[in-house]
Amino acid sequence: MINQTTIAALEALLFVSGAPLSPSRISEILDWPLDEIVVTIKHLKNNLEENNRGIRLIEVAEGWQLVTAEEYSEIIERLGETVQPKVTPGMMESLAIISYRQPVTRQEIEQIRGVNSDRAVKALYELELVEERGRKEVVGRPILYGTTSKFLQLFGLKEIELLPRWEEFQEEEQEKNEGTITENNT
């Protein structure tokens, strides 16, 4: 049975959790059937939106999380300096490679970037944006890296599959190439 009490229980749980909770985890904690949880989540989400609350329920990192409403971000920033971990361009490049090539070794990242990436990968690891995914069975058994749930959270992604297709970053170049070929033909 979904009523105001069950919605309130879910809200309380999500408030304390802070981090996103998956419907199955919520179902485990509240000991309710999963389908009821899914409906309750929708109710809570709608409640918050319809009442123009400062808090919203969003789907992120394969779960649901209570966050502030986007329109108040500027007000929140007046509270003081917001702490977003610093991600340098080198780290961002390495992160892009890990996102699309995971699981991937540091050596493979360096091959693509043509530059030592030891520090960048270590920093990503320390920010918990990437994690170890076992070792590659080649000489030296290098560590394989993959992205974490925290990565999805900090980048506002529901799941890793929702990143743009890899081809989208290449298309422009291919079009140019085709253009050149036709030019050459004429």
Binding site: G18, Q65, V67, E93, A96, I97, G114, F169
Partner: protein
Amino acid sequence: MDKEEYQLELGVFEGPLDLLLHLIDKNELNIYDVPIHLLAEQYVAYLESLEDLDLEVASEFLIVASQLMYAKSKALLPKTLMEFDESEEDIEERLRLQLLEYRAFKKASTYLEKLYKGKKYYSRDPMERQFQSLELEPQSPLALLEAWKEFQRDEISLFEAEEIIALEPFNIEERMSEISTEIKNYPGKRIRLDLLLGGGTKGKISWLVAILAVLELVRLKKIVIEQSNAFAQIYIARQEGKQ
């Protein structure tokens, strides 16, 4: 290149490929068409323009510089005169492919950057830690008193330990001869290490001295250390063949 460009430093670029891309974009070239060797001069000129070349950073840039110069020299020589190694022949092609792949990743990286910077909502940190501390069992005030007493006792014993150290200087050589005699008196000329060390009752320093003495005796090949398997009891025995 204008003067401002020259004032850039290597740190501005994420690597040699980044610098190459910068030159390609600046010259409005298409990676597919551009003869890479034409960029060699600009690339090297850029490296030379830097007043202090941090070798650690520059080494990666220099590798690419040498590849570019090779491609350039190759392009300058008449093809009929020179027979190039097949694998060397496609340095330029490899560099081109690498540039294309790198450029795509740079775009992906820009996309991620936008996601990261564009996120306009905030969330709280999990409160889980508080729950962990709440899991403590309720304790009576007596337990607190006990804990306080124990703390005080520990503090006193610390002072005592210092006094003992001052009064009783430890001597590794002395301990070595003691251990030798002790082993001799033991049946089978073998003694369990923990018994030898006195089970920790004599304090940490005496323990350390005993361990050092044992190691020294092993080094002098007067005793051997035996252990049947990991975590099993360790035995000290007299080296066979010695008196």
